[in-house]
């Protein structure tokens, strides 16, 4: 591995959080998951072949797991364990139209949302297919649907987001 972990972290940390946010999580959740995923990739640094994909997949999985636990009412216990490692994203206040955009994205079905998040990060169809373990045709169709829906919601007059 030619790149150092630190260089990778500096380059990719913010984008990783943005990715998790695009997958439908809050900035807080995203940062916590991103940090944990970075720890995981750091420990495996010498043998992780594609760290960008690995760290994103891990962060998303962690965010999903965490939300499941919270929904199961375990949030208090988790809170205690992670007390010292609480992320510091409270000051995150995006501009209103970004907030609005995120609200729209969160309304996409999960699979489409995930595929679209990879797409936004510049991953190619074939890469996404490999990561998400689905045929390329499915990737293309998810993307087309996602774009269709977003285009509809973004159309003037439906800006407040009607269900299609």
């Amino acid at each position: 591995m030619s790149e150092s972990f630190e260089a990778f972290f500096r380059k990719d940390y913010i984008r990783l959080i943005a990715f998790v946010v695009s997958c439908g999580f809050t900035a807080d959740e995203a940062e916590e998951a991103a940090q944990e995923a970075m720890v995981a990739v750091f420990r495996r640094w010498t043998y992780v072949a594609e760290p960008q994909a690995y760290v994103r997949l891990t962060a998303r999985r962690l965010a999903v797991q965490r939300r499941q636990r919270e929904q199961q009412g375990l949030s208090l216990a988790m809170e205690a364990t992670w007390a010292g490692a609480r992320p510091h994203a409270q000051s995150f206040h995006p501009e209103p139209d970004v907030d609005h955009y995120l609200a729209i994205v969160r309304r996409l079905p999960e699979r489409q949302r995930h595929v679209f998040a990879w797409y936004l990060e510049g991953f190619s169809h074939s890469q996404i297919a490999k990561i998400e373990q689905m045929p390329e045709a499915t990737v293309r169709s998810h993307l087309r649907h996602a774009k269709d829906r977003l285009a509809q919601w973004f159309r003037p007059g439906t800006e407040k987001g009607d269900e299609p």
Binding site: S2, Y13, A18, M38, T46, H88, D97, Y101, L120
Partner: protein, 1029 residues
């Protein structure tokens, strides 16, 4: 269709919104603080396991509880297996020793331990990656640096690299740091026979690292700093001669001469009391040098601080410290040698003159004075023109190439090839070559470096007028005043000055020949009661003696006769018998066998002859008869020793060499059985390690072959020949090292001819076996097969059992190489059966490893892999690390060829780690190259580049041009795939240049590719260059 599903453009499209999200996040999140937290959280989890002391494990700062003693023993074994599978049986045996529970119980218990260990090693995981089941057992694969033993190995390798690059301080620091990893005795508290063996093995490695460290400290001039440490070490290891020598030297350099001498005395006493043996000759020699306050002991070798080069060869014989006279000619020679390199070629000086006129002494003296001008080293070869066996130029070249750091198995066979390689190595170096006692220009020419930076001195009795470009110097007798000052220098200035006229008579009677003057001067020095006049009178008397030796037209016969007549009967016998063996020189212990004396007695007598100027020192603990005196000594031998005594002396010498070679064979092939089957007929040397055993064979090779020739020539009965055949076979490790194939060829043919004459089937079998192997190495498989078949028939017909397994294995390899794979497999089966019946596990394992190739040839992929894997397993079972590593190499090749790239990489890496740790550079280079090729196949080009570069560095380190060119080719191919077209072309061009220089056929495909690329322009889509087999 309207564009209704187009996404909004401009600042409201999702891509833009996403980028704005990223910008907003970047503004509110402190990446550096997050990085810090991640680094802290990620790091403390690292494992740290220690076995170089009590077995302990840490995660971060926290020590882990490793559980019950059997559980700890299991962990220890898994750790020491370093990523290999430990089978259930092995684990049970290691943990419970004798009183193992039933098989089923044992497995269940082992499983319990594994579960607990997994929880300790990988607490956060549900799927365990480190400690896994591996077929018939368990395997623990730790990341690099977790185990202190791995860290130790790495430190040792780094130190070795630094030492080679001349960074001694760094090497010493790295060794010290590595040694601190030992916390008391390794594996403390772990029970069982396996741990016991490993404990001894680790302790041995620690000691060897300490010895290297002490050597470095001595070289760095830090003798004062290590005396205390060495005293403590020698107290712990009272019989360790290496440490003792280091302590003696350190004390001596601190000016504590008597302490240094006492150290030797105590050591000697301890050796005699405990083991009943004398110290090694090196130690005794050191003792004597300290006793004589030898100033060269003080010199710390000067080294260039940053020079990345290996130390060059320093083969010159010692300069005579009372060299006298020859002022004018010496000055002229110095000027000739120091001439700036000029266009017309290198300085070449040919000194000719009568026997005893002092050509060698002058050449050696001048060469020593010129060493500074030749920083890359000095080569010396005695071409032995005036003995029974003049040195053949290809043999001299073999010696030079080895001295230049060329691994023996990479030295080519023919004279032309050797000469080409020699010149290509010398092309960029400044080396002085001294060719002593040359016969004619034909013998000398192949030994001349071609490059202007080098220089050569040749000595010969006849003038080498046909040597192109040579400055011819004819050396006459000395001037009278030169001869007188030589007499003064050796016999004492005052005595000579007091009797000037008698002294003049003496040197005149010597006809001003330096050797004659020296012989008489040494007599005079040994007889304080004599006056110079006494000497002159005795000399006159000697000249009148009718029985005076008349050998040719030699002018020093009377001085010789006088010197000889002054020897005690004991000395005279030693002196005579030394002319019996044909080898160039002899070691003290071999001489002891020849003379039938104890080593210490023999040494004492040899030293006394050295004082009398009748012998020369040719190396540490090695003595040489002066060539000039050999005919005279032979005459005395024929006159005074009965033929049966001479024959007995030669038999004793042969017996010594045979017994030593057997010991070497046993070590080199890990308890080979051959050695036991051979008839031992003497007491031989013993060796502490396989490496030293092989080194001994290399050092003594000339003598061994000379002894074989001589013994063959004098054998009259089969019983006399058989030990010679045995010796040939016992020298097998030397044959395997690739050195001396021509000598083996000649020796084996000589033994074979004699065996046929005498009807000795045992020797016939042995010589045919060796000859078959030689022929195979020379790429003559058909002839090799014929010899081996004959050998096999002999063993079947006459029930000669000694080397049946070896013959069968060799035959199978030879047949397989001719693509008769089915026949080869049948022969391998026969070999394995034989080994199995005779309980030779390693032999069976080797046959298995080799047979994989023929399984592949038959298209049996699974069979090939199974055979190679089983070979690895059996070597492992036999406890042979070297065998395991070589078998892994074979397995890696098979896996790579059958497309199992991951497995291939794994086994190659394992083998690589072993060859690195044991400094087997040729193997290391080979494995790196295979790895690079495998990675290219796997399209993982960065790794391919990495390993090809490693292979390249090693090839350059060991001066292995062929390997360098191979590495450059593979590197070029990998770089091209990565798109570095210009670097790739650069590598291929360099490879092409080297191959062309070596006249290797590999140059042709490269030329084609380079030509095409140059004409099409860089970056075109060539096919990758395939590696020629």
């Amino acid at each position: 269709m309207t564009d209704h599903n187009a996404l909004p453009k401009g600042k409201h499209g999702p891509e833009q919104m996403h980028e704005r999200l990223v910008a907003a996040l970047a503004a509110s999140i402190d990446t550096e603080r997050a990085l810090e937290r991640v680094l802290v959280q990620g790091r403390p989890q690292t494992l740290d396991i220690r076995i170089l002391g009590p077995l302990r494990a840490f995660r971060g700062d926290q020590e882990l509880d490793l559980g019950s003693p059997p559980q700890r023993a299991m962990l220890a074994m898994l750790l020491l297996y370093e990523g290999r599978v430990a089978t259930f049986e092995e684990l049970s045996a290691a943990i419970w020793d004798e009183e193992a529970p039933s098989r089923a119980r044992a497995r269940a218990t082992l499983h319990t331990y594994v579960t607990r260990l997994r929880a300790l090693l990988e607490p956060d995981r549900s799927n365990f990656e480190l400690l896994t089941s591996g077929g018939q057992g368990y395997v623990l694969r730790l990341p690099a640096d977790v185990l202190d033993l791995t860290r130790f190995d790495r430190g040792i390798a780094e130190a070795e690299a630094a030492r080679k690059a001349g960074r001694l301080r760094e090497a010493a620091e790295s060794l010290r740091a590595s040694l601190t990893l030992f916390e008391g005795e390794p594996l403390t508290g772990i029970v069982g026979p396996y741990a016991e063996r490993q404990r001894a093995h680790l302790a041995e490695r620690r000691l060897s690292a300490i010895e290297t460290l002490m050597d470095l400290e001595l070289d760095l001039g830090n003798h004062a700093g290590i005396v205390a440490e060495l005293i403590a070490l020698t107290a712990d290891h009272p019989l360790h001669e290496g440490l003792c020598a280091q302590l003696m030297l350190a004390l001596y350099r601190c000016g504590r001469h008597s302490d240094a001498l006492n150290t030797f005395t105590q050591m000697r006493k301890a050796l005699i009391d405990n083991l009943g043996i004398e110290p090694r000759p090196e130690l005794s020699t050191l003792y004597q040098r300290i006793l004589a306050a030898d100033p060269t002991l003080n010199s710390v070798p000067a080294r260039q601080p940053q020079g990345p080069k290996l130390p060059g060869p320093a083969q010159l014989p010692a300069d005579i410290n009372d060299f006298t006279g020859r002022w004018e000619v010496a000055a002229r020679l110095r000027t000739l040698l120091s001439a700036q390199p000029v266009a017309e070629g290198m300085p070449l000086v040919a000194i000719s003159g009568l026997a005893g006129v002092g050509k060698t002494a002058l050449a050696v003296h001048v060469a020593h004075q010129a060493t500074e001008a030749f920083p890359d080293g000095q080569l010396y070869a005695d071409l032995r023109a005036y003995t029974d066996e003049a040195t053949r130029p290809e043999f001299a070249l073999g010696g030079f190439l080895r001295a230049l750091g060329m691994p023996p198995d990479l030295i080519p066979d023919g004279l032309t090839e050797r000469s080409a390689l020699y010149r290509s190595i010398l092309a960029e170096r400044r080396i002085l070559v001294l060719l002593d006692n040359a016969h004619d220009a034909d013998q000398v020419s192949p030994l001349l470096p071609g490059s202007p930076g080098c220089a050569t001195i040749v000595t010969s009795r006849i003038k080498l007028a046909d040597l192109p470009g040579a400055h011819l110097v004819e050396l006459g007798v000395m001037e009278p005043d030169e001869a007188l000052s030589l007499l003064s220098a050796v016999a004492g200035r005052e005595r000579v000055a007091a009797e000037h006229s008698a002294a003049t008579d003496v040197v005149t009677a010597c006809r001003f020949l330096p050797l004659a003057v020296r012989l008489l001067a040494a007599r005079l020095a040994a007889r304080p009661s004599w006056t110079v006049a006494t000497l002159a009178a005795r000399l006159a008397h000697a000249q009148r003696r009718p029985d005076l030796l008349r050998v040719g037209n030699l002018s020093f016969e009377s001085p010789f006769a006088l010197a000889y007549s002054q020897l005690t009967p004991e000395q005279a016998r030693v002196f005579r018998l030394l002319s019996l063996p044909n080898g160039p020189d002899i070691s003290a212990d071999a001489a002891a066998a020849l003379l039938d004396l104890s080593v210490s007695k023999a040494e004492e007598l040899l030293e006394s002859l050295l004082d009398a100027s009748l012998l020369e020192i040719s190396g540490p603990g090695r003595y040489r008869l002066r060539d000039t005196l050999r005919p005279l000594t032979r005459r005395e031998l024929d006159k005074s020793e009965r033929p049966e005594d001479r024959a007995a002396a030669l038999r004793r010498l042969l017996g010594f060499y045979l017994a030593s070679a057997q010991a070497a064979h046993r070590l080199a092939y890990e308890n080979s059985m051959i050695a036991d089957d051979l008839v031992a007929s003497g007491v031989g040397g013993t060796f502490p390690s396989a490496d030293e055993a092989v080194t001994w064979l290399i050092v003594e090779s000339d003598l061994l072959f000379a002894t074989i020739d001589q013994a063959v020539a004098s054998a009259r009965m089969g019983e006399q020949l058989l030990p010679v055949g045995d010796l040939l076979v016992a020298m097998e490790p030397l044959l395997d090292s690739g050195a001396h194939t021509r000598e083996f060829d000649r020796g084996a043919r000589a033994v074979l001819a004699a065996a046929l004459t005498l009807g000795d089937r045992g020797s016939e079998l042995r010589s045919r076996y060796v000859l078959g192997r030689v022929l195979f190495d020379a790429d003559k498989p058909r002839e090799a097969e014929e010899q081996l078949r004959r050998a096999h028939e002999l063993s079947v017909e006459y029930g000669e059992k000694a080397i049946t397994g070896q013959v069968l294995t060799a035959l199978a390899v030879v047949v397989g190489r001719q693509r008769r794979h089915a026949d080869a497999l049948a022969l391998f089966d026969a070999a394995m059966n034989w080994y199995r019946e005779n309980g030779v596990l390693t032999g069976e394992a080797l046959s298995l490893s080799y047979s994989a190739r023929d399984h592949l040839g038959m298209g049996e992929i699974e069979g090939a892999i199974a055979a190679a894997e089983k070979g690895v397993a059996m070597f492992t079972e036999a406890g042979s690390d070297g065998g395991t590593a070589r078998a892994r190499y074979h397995l890696g090749v098979v896996l790579s060829r059958t497309g199992r790239l991951a497995g291939s990489v794994y086994h190659h890496l394992e083998a690589l780690a072993f060859f690195r740790a044991t400094n087997q550079h040729v193997w290391e280079q080979r494995v790196c190259l295979r790895l690079a090729e495998t990675f290219i196949t796997a399209k993982r080009y960065p790794e391919a580049v990495h390993h090809a570069e490693q292979a390249l560095i090693i090839s350059r380190d060991i001066s292995y041009p062929y390997g360098e060119a191979m590495s450059l080719t593979v590197l070029g191919n990998a770089l091209r795939e990565l798109g570095s077209t210009s670097r790739s072309l650069d590598c291929l061009q360099q490879a092409f240049d080297i191959f062309s220089r070596l006249s290797a056929p590999e140059a042709d495909p490269l030329r084609a590719i380079l030509d095409r690329t140059h004409s099409v322009k860089a970056g075109s889509s060539d096919r990758p260059i395939s590696r020629p087999e």
